[in-house]
């Protein structure tokens, strides 16, 4: 089993290296929106001193941490898998004695992230010089506490993303659904605004949804913004959603595969 992953890693790593130029452009996309929102909120915080207790530096550290966490927890399954269901090429992979999603696609995701992370680091350094953040609130304990949260966050987003792609077994196309999902994620993950600035209702709802584990929860763990009780309930909710996402995916995969007609193959 380990040998399979090792070989898949070599293949996918080499494959990702082919698209180095694309990668820079992809990162540009990724960077602009957090930097814009960073500018928006630091402007507000600077004119007022604080926004609901958050200082300009809090916003800078929040969005700069978000850039890194986002690299870890995001997934690209829709881009690398949905078309295989649509055009039937998945048939070739189904013959192999391994799970197409949990091996090849997973490793491809990880290879892509590793590469984007490598490309992000120098850019992040430049942003550091430009924004001069003060990360003194970050402790080693905070970072260690955040590592499992980041892994749970990626596991949830990967499994939910994969389950969503499985809908293509029934409907052939899933882009609209995925866009709807990413809009929900954008709203409830804390991507554009730290969740504590959201209206009370949205905050309440966000606490019970899986999206906060993509960004807000790990970010706040790193920055040390959560009380011990919040950390415990957060982790409990994270593990709950991990289990739910796993079963959702397994169910969608098993039943979806029965619908698969291998169009064109």
């Amino acid at each position: 089993m380990l040998r399979i992953y090792q070989r898949l890693w070599q293949v996918n790593w080499a494959e990702q290296w082919q698209y180095r130029a694309n990668l820079v452009m992809y990162l540009l996309f990724w960077l602009v929106s957090p930097v814009v929102y960073l500018a928006v909120w630091t402007t507000i915080a600077r004119t007022q001193g604080t926004v609901s207790g958050l200082t300009p530096n809090d916003f800078v550290t929040y969005y700069m941490t978000l850039l890194i966490i986002d690299q870890f927890t995001s997934e690209i399954t829709i881009h690398i898998f949905a078309y295989k269901i649509t055009d039937g090429t998945l048939a070739g992979e189904l013959i192999r004695p391994m799970h197409p999603m949990l091996t090849n696609t997973l490793v491809n995701n990880v290879a892509f992230k590793t590469l984007t992370l490598m490309a992000l680091l120098p850019i992040w350094g430049v942003l550091w010089l430009l924004f001069q953040p003060n990360f003194s609130a970050v402790t080693w304990q905070g970072i260690l506490l955040a590592i499992p949260a980041v892994i749970i966050g990626f596991a949830i987003s990967f499994l939910l993303g994969a389950a969503l792609v499985c809908v293509a077994f029934w409907t052939t196309r899933v882009w609209a659904l995925v866009e709807f999902y990413s809009a929900l994620a954008a709203l409830f993950s804390g991507q554009f605004v730290p969740l504590q600035l959201m209206p009370g209702v949205v905050q309440q709802v966000a606490r019970y949804l899986p999206f906060q584990f993509y960004k807000y929860f790990p970010i706040e763990l790193v920055l040390g913004g959560l009380s011990p009780q919040q950390i415990v309930t957060g982790y409990a909710m994270g593990i709950f959603w991990l289990v739910v996402a796993l079963f959702l995916f397994l169910w969608a995969w098993r039943n979806g595969l029965k619908q698969f007609s291998a169009v064109g193959a």
Binding site: M25, V36, V51
Partner: protein
């Protein structure tokens, strides 16, 4: 006259093709509505925490959102769909067929692929701008509205010209697939006034990839932040960039050798 007739024919063809995917169109419009709702929610979150954003009020940011949607509709509805086809046509030589037609090639390439449902984005843009101006109340005068409209158009022309130059580079480099990504990537910055950005970002979105010229600048005219000379200057920039783009395009077409023949 001929170009108007051409546009009518192109629109007709595009409407016919997109009517084959009616459900897709409805879903796309609904998703678009959802994103606008999201953007307005974002604004309401911002203004529940502050009265002004760097001196800009809610009415102005709604109008800015409208201008942003106008630029977005132009890019996503007209420019992006044609780009990929154009890049491929330079590589495989099928641009021959466009060049052989008795019409301006830049015109044909620009307007040949139009995503019809994006017209909805224009309607939305119009509504947002009108609502924004109405909410602004007394601060706007007929003159400021007029210069706002003029600058919105000339800003869109600047972006369009940059697009023409970027895709014309394909004539020289042949394989240049990411030619317009930089425009797409920085588009997001148009939702908020460039005046609040840190200076390096402001310089990028004003001078290098002038998204701000098409979004923030018209709004500044509406607020009366720009002097008459400034308004004329930006209109002049619009004209100049269009002329430069047309020249670059011509030079590019001269270089084109037709890969297949």
């Amino acid at each position: 006259m001929q170009s108007l007739r051409l546009i009518r024919v192109i629109l007709k063809i595009n409407i016919q093709t997109s009517l084959a995917y009616r459900a897709d169109m409805v879903v796309n419009i609904l998703l678009n509505l959802m994103w606008v709702g999201w953007e307005l929610l974002g604004l309401s979150i911002i203004f529940s925490n502050t009265a002004t954003l760097g001196g800009w009020g809610p009415a102005e940011l709604i109008a800015l959102l409208g201008v942003f949607h106008m630029v977005n509709a132009m890019m996503a509805g007209m420019l992006w769909p044609g780009t990929e086809k154009f890049n491929a046509s330079v590589r495989d030589g099928s641009l021959d067929y466009t060049l052989l037609l008795p019409a301006n090639s830049q015109f044909l390439v620009s307007f040949s692929s139009i995503t019809i449902w994006r017209a909805w984005d224009l309607v939305l843009a119009f509504i947002l701008v009108v609502v924004g101006i109405r909410m602004g109340g007394d601060t706007t005068t007929p003159l400021s509205i007029l210069s706002f409209l003029a600058l919105a158009v000339s800003g869109a022309v600047v972006i369009y010209s940059l697009w023409v130059v970027l895709i014309a580079f394909t004539f020289w480099f042949t394989k240049f697939d990411n030619n317009v990504t930089i425009l797409q990537a920085l588009l997001d910055s148009g939702r908020y006034p460039a005046t609040i950005y840190p200076s390096w970002l402001r310089i990028i979105v004003t001078f290098i990839v002038p998204i701000a010229v098409a979004t923030t600048v018209p709004l500044q005219a509406l607020r009366g932040d720009l002097s008459g000379w400034n308004v004329l200057l930006f209109i002049g920039i619009g004209f100049a960039s269009f002329i430069v783009a047309a020249q670059v395009w011509k030079a590019g077409v001269h270089r084109y050798s037709g890969a297949s023949s």
